[in-house]
């Protein structure tokens, strides 16, 4: 079995350019998300701007397998000193520690992937690169994976009439990887915020970077998903400069299967109580009947 491959995303160098989003669209031939697609006769129409900083993508979707997030922050963070841009302007004290965090979000290719766990058709598999991949011809559109993913990665594509109706997400450019090419997003990333490689190598690099940032006076620098705490580890892990929630990442996502045993036992208990109730109802009546008519038993 070959090594595990994936992404290490250093958000401290993400400039929010969205090249990854477009490169992903380009390589995977995904259309833009518009109100109305252009044709030869009409220019089409965009969706309205969101007003949420420079993020007009909003979330992952069937065509947005990458999503660059923009977080504008100006409070003083709890964890000591912070980044880059420090202004002590007496003119506008509200802008102390003004920060604009940017992060390119993507499928985490979890080591214990919730989507893969729940997929009832075997459409979602773990590839030879340890990535999580949806085989579209197998998927029947049950959408269990959609609700299972704690990161909101998976979305359903189109309708069955369009030959779609299957679950969509980042493939880690499985086709490119099988031919020795870097995934399109990582190749495009101008500042190498998205780094692709062997997970073992990436971790060494990431840990060094965190150490360097700590030395530079950024104690809040932390890795997300580089150890096994989150779903056994994420094959797309992150270097963050704040708590995961600030970036819209769950700090403690759940593995679906964790619920199966306790839930099953509790439901068994419920079934048992229902049965006991039935027993009580029917047996009680039967006792009464028997008392009234001892021959009843013979019937």
């Amino acid at each position: 079995m070959s090594d595990a491959y994936g992404f290490y995303t250093d958000t401290t160098v993400c400039i929010g350019c969205k090249a990854c989003q477009v490169a992903c669209h380009q390589w995977n031939e995904l259309p833009a998300e518009l109100e109305q697609q252009p044709t030869e006769h009409s220019p089409g129409q965009t969706r309205p701007m969101t007003g949420n900083s420079y993020d007009n993508t909003g979330s992952f979707s069937d065509v947005n397998w990458r999503h660059v997030k923009f977080i504008e922050k100006s409070e003083i963070p709890a964890m000591g000193t912070t980044a880059a841009s420090v202004s002590h302007s007496p003119q506008d004290p509200n802008r102390d520690n003004l920060q604009w965090l940017m992060m390119s979000d993507v499928c985490k290719h979890c080591v214990n992937a919730p989507c893969l766990e729940v997929c009832p058709t075997g459409a979602i598999i773990r590839t030879e690169f340890d990535s999580v991949y949806i085989q579209e011809p197998v998927c029947n559109g049950c959408r269990n994976c959609v609700g299972a993913c704690p990161f909101g990665v998976i979305h359903m594509g189109g309708t069955a009439n369009e030959g779609e109706g299957t679950a969509k997400k980042c493939t880690l450019c499985y086709d490119r990887m099988q031919h020795g090419l870097t995934p399109a997003c990582a190749q495009a990333c101008p500042t190498e915020s998205i780094q692709f490689g062997k997970i073992t190598d990436l971790k060494v690099r990431a840990e060094q970077r965190v150490k360097d940032l700590h030395d530079l006076g950024f104690p809040q620098a932390q890795l997300y998903g580089a150890d096994t705490k989150i779903l056994g580890g994420l094959n797309s892990f992150y270097l963050l400069m704040d708590q995961p929630e600030v970036y819209g990442l769950p700090s403690n996502p759940k593995l679906p299967s964790r619920a199966v045993i306790p839930s099953t036992f509790l439901s068994m208990g419920s079934a048992l109580l229902v049965a006991l109730g039935g027993l009580f109802a029917f047996r009680k009546k039967r006792m009464e009947e028997f008392a009234a008519d001892p021959t009843a038993k013979e019937r």
């Binding site: 160098v13 400039i15 929010g16 350019c17 969205k18 090249a19 989003q21 477009v22 669209h25 380009q26 259309p31 833009a32 998300e33 518009l34 697609q37 252009p38 220019p43 089409g44 129409q45 965009t46 969706r47 309205p48 701007m49 969101t50 007003g51 900083s53 420079y54 007009n56 993508t57 504008e72 100006s74 880059a84 841009s85 420090v86 202004s87 002590h88 302007s89 007496p90 003119q91 506008d92 509200n94 802008r95 003004l98 920060q99 604009w100 965090l101 940017m102 101008p190 500042t191 190498e192």
Partner: protein
């Protein structure tokens, strides 16, 4: 870019983007580097990863600011106060690189005692003519019997002399210097006085930048410059689009010269340009005032009657420019071929002369007045990108005919149908319009010159579809037809067309393609490189050019790009060279001039020729290296560049070579004068000539400003700015402090779109990322005006009112200027009435008002009112 040219000699970035890796500090100012040049910014981030300090000075907190170690907020249009403050800081604290400054700049040079500074005249320099609104720069000159560049009296006509021989007669004595820099008339002392009022307190008052942040920037730059360290300054149109644009850049050149950062790895000034080959279209200028290679256009307003008169007027005899006659004659020879003879000035007589300012704004003024009848819009979209764009669209309607070449149906192409001015009234527009579909980059071959003067070729990958044709095809075929139409003319004025060399098709090259008459860009590039007329052999470089008509060369600064090599005796197009190397990468593309990547790199060594430090080694004198001198004789000793860098200096001229006061061209300079294009070989802190608005950068308020000039009271704005309020109805300016327009408005670009949007708003993948026009406002202003996020607002200037959605963000901040709170708002200007993502045209708000040196408009700062719609 006269800012850089005036100080250093050449109007181009002095370094490369990759060279940013070598920097110890990078000050980005007047540029939103991360957003507008994301891939170039990777090298700034590489530097940061290696420990360099990133500084961003900008009115807005942008994606660049988010990456910076230090973000210094300043009010739009206060750049010279900030830069002047830095200059003062270096001088006052003696943190300038003294050895470099004394040897390599004109700091010790003495200026005319009659010179008077803005200090004395409260905002004006000596020589101002208020009636003509212009300066007479005579008092700004160097002290000498006759300053260089300012020529000897022109010798009597002597037809026997060659052009080059005449140049020697023009050499004058060198300027006087005081190497102790104590003389009150020396540049250093003048500068010290000039910037005396640019104190840190004044910086805080006038720019709104807190003093401690300003001082941090100053300290960071000072600490990261000197022998062992270098700092780079990066700018873009945030500096150029001002009525003082050239002077802002000049201030940065002064800063970098004082810090000793020019010509050194990780130093210099990186000008970031916006279009794929905007550098190329300035080098090979589709510009009215220039001929290829930065020769001035023949002008009826100068002594340019004949080629000889032109050369006498234009040549700088005491710099590399002494060779200018060779460049001019070779260019004419390339254009007029055998018909170019000494008798007709090699065809000079057929060239048109300019009769004034024919730049963009005057062009549209003339158009609006009906004197321009025919118009080519070649991949440019003035209906969106033009200043006071509503005025420009109305001017288009005065044309008899217009040809638009583009990929998409731009706002310019359909102004008669879709513009707010003519929608539903297209029958009023009598303009005959041609939309000629253009080929995209993969559909033809050619080269671009990028922001670091590097030519790179794109190869043809596919044929263009349908009627789409390359630009080269269009102009070539138009030329063919015009030559046919004029073939039978006997008028002298048509001779130039008839004799124009115009043979660019290589049928062999077109065999595999659909279009048989596509011109060969390689053949054009061969003409650009130059050849010896007799055998058509490619020249090795501009050093081979002659002024006697025996060589032809289309663009002298590009000469060498097609030089023969051992493998390619017939020449090899080095814009197609694709062997990557290290930081310099000499075999990737071709950097003009002569494949030099870091300009003025002689300055990377000390006056004795040794590297200033091992860490900052680039070009140095190797006294023992075998070499061949300019005459081809074997000698010892030459300049050597690391990583294959080509020295920007005479290769065998020893550092100890003394200046020859009677020498012509570079002989006039010593072996320690790195600025070979300047008349005195020095970097110019003080510009004794070449600029229309003063020898030293001075803070003037933007032409429209909500505040008065806090530094100078007599003269608040640039006294010689180009004004159009009288010429253009509806182009009024708001006076300083006008309460009707209390806010500063700045326009800019976003990563997700390109310029007027003609290459991005039709692309779904880009349109979705920034779908609508917006105006960025601070929460404070939003609160004051009751505006909520994404709410529609009206933005009003004296020119127009447009609507946009509000984007309320703390990234935009109010400034306290002289005790008064000034709100600044910002608008990206990518939208228009066509395309998938459409919106109002932001340039409807901007004004026609120009920098006096280059006539660039002031889009980065004007005033507005903003209200809920």
């Amino acid at each position: 870019m006269p800012g850089l040219g005036t100080s250093f000699g050449r109007g181009g970035a002095t370094n490369t983007q990759q060279d940013l890796q070598n920097a110890d500090a990078i000050m980005i100012m007047g540029s939103n580097f991360a957003e507008c040049h994301p891939v170039g910014f990777r090298w700034a981030m590489k530097a940061k990863a290696k420990g360099a300090k990133l500084i961003h000075v900008d009115p807005r907190f942008t994606r660049t600011s988010a990456m910076a170690d230090t973000y210094a907020p300043i009010r739009s249009g206060s750049d010279i106060v900030f830069l002047g403050g830095l200059i003062k800081y270096l001088i006052d604290n003696e943190k300038y690189f003294k050895e470099y400054v004394v040897a390599y700049t004109n700091a010790p040079s003495l200026i005319d005692p009659n010179y008077q500074d803005t200090e004395e005249l409260d905002g004006l320099f000596s020589g101002f003519d208020p009636a003509g609104r212009k300066y007479n720069p005579d008092t700004w000159k160097y002290q000498s019997d006759l300053p260089p560049g300012q020529t000897q009296p022109v010798p009597a006509q002597d037809e026997s002399q060659s052009f080059s021989a005449r140049v020697g007669k023009l050499v004058g004595p060198p300027p006087k210097q005081d190497l102790t820099m104590q003389d009150p008339h020396c540049v250093f002392q003048i500068m010290k006085r000039h910037y005396a009022r640019y104190t840190p307190e004044m910086v805080e008052q006038a720019t709104g930048c807190p003093k401690d942040i300003f001082l941090k920037v100053a300290e960071t730059l000072a600490q990261n410059s000197g022998r062992e360290r270098t700092a780079t300054v990066v700018y873009a149109v945030g500096w150029t689009q001002h009525t003082v644009g050239v002077q802002i850049i000049r201030a940065a050149t002064i800063l970098q010269l004082l810090l000793g950062n020019v010509g050194r790895p990780g130093g210099g000034i990186l000008a970031l340009r916006g279009h794929a080959t905007i550098q190329g279209s300035t080098d090979v200028p589709t510009l009215y005032n220039l001929l290829p290679g930065y020769l001035n256009s023949p002008s009826a307003l100068k002594t340019h009657e004949t080629l000889r008169a032109y050369l006498d007027t234009e040549v700088t005899p005491t710099a590399y420019w002494a060779n200018m006659p060779k460049f001019m004659v070779s260019m004419l020879k390339a254009w007029y071929g055998d018909a170019a003879t000494a008798q007709n000035g090699y065809g000079y007589d057929y060239q048109p002369k300019i009769v004034g300012d024919h730049s963009h704004m005057p062009m549209f003024v003339a158009m609006s007045q009906g004197s321009i009848k025919g118009f080519f819009a070649m991949g440019q979209n003035p209906a969106v990108g033009g200043q006071n764009a509503g005025f420009q669209r109305k001017a288009l309607a005065k044309l008899d005919w217009m040809v638009v070449r583009d990929l998409y149906e731009t706002e310019t192409a359909t102004f008669w149908r879709d513009s707010p001015e003519f929608k539903g009234k297209s029958s009023d527009v009598k303009t005959e319009v041609f939309f000629m579909p253009a080929a995209a980059v993969p559909e033809g071959a050619g080269s671009f010159t990028n922001t670091q003067r590097l030519l790179q070729k794109h190869e043809k990958a596919v044929d263009p579809p349908d009627d789409a044709r390359t630009d080269l095809w269009f102009t070539y075929k138009l030329g063919v037809r015009l030559k046919e139409l004029y073939q039978s003319s006997t008028l002298p004025r048509d001779t130039g067309i008839k004799i124009l060399t115009w043979s660019y098709v290589d049928p062999e090259e077109n065999k595999q393609w659909r279009i048989p008459d596509e011109p060969s860009s390689d053949l054009v590039m061969r003409e650009i490189n130059g050849y010896t007329v007799s055998d058509k052999k490619m020249v090795k470089g501009f050093g081979d050019l002659k002024d006697d008509g025996t060589t032809a060369c289309g663009v002298w600064i590009y000469s060498g790009i097609y030089a023969p090599t051992a493998d390619h005796p017939d020449g090899f197009n080095r814009s197609a060279a694709r062997t990557p190397g290290q930081i310099i990468s000499p075999n990737w593309g071709f950097a003009w001039p002569a494949n030099r990547h870091i300009l003025y790199n002689r300055a990377s060594a000390d006056p004795a020729g040794n590297p200033w430090s091992e860490r900052k080694k680039l070009v140095y004198w190797d006294a023992n290296a075998p070499a061949t001198d300019t005459q081809g004789k074997p000698t010892k000793g030459k300049w050597v560049g690391i990583e294959g860098e080509v020295p920007d200096f005479v290769a065998t001229k020893a550092p100890t070579t003394p200046a020859n006061p009677k020498g012509v061209g570079l002989d006039y300079h010593s072996g320690a004068d790195p600025f070979i294009m300047k008349a005195d070989g020095k970097g110019w802190l003080f510009a004794p000539q070449g600029l229309t608005d003063g020898p030293l950068p001075t803070h003037y308020e933007p032409y429209e400003s909500p505040v008065e000039n806090m530094l100078y009271h007599k003269q608040g704005v640039n006294p010689v700015a180009k004004l159009y309020d009288k010429l253009v109805p509806g182009n009024a300016y708001s006076p300083p402090g006008n309460p009707d327009y209390p806010h500063i408005l700045s326009t800019y670009r976003l990563t997700e779109h390109h310029l007027s949007g003609s290459m991005s708003r039709w692309l779904p993948w880009l349109a979705e990322l920034q779908p609508e026009l917006f105006v960025e406002i601070s929460p404070e202003l939003a609160h004051e005006k009751g505006i909520s996020n994404t709410q529609l607002v009206n933005i009003k200037t004296p020119r127009a009112t447009i609507q946009a959605k509000a984007l309320v963000t703390k990234r935009i901040r109010p400034f306290v200027i002289g005790g008064k709170t000034i709100h600044q708002v910002g608008m990206p200007w990518h939208w228009g009435y066509n395309g998938i993502a459409h919106g109002a045209v932001v340039n409807d708000l901007s004004a026609l008002v120009g920098d006096p040196n280059v006539n660039i408009h002031e889009a980065k700062v004007f005033v507005c009112q903003i209200e809920k719609a």
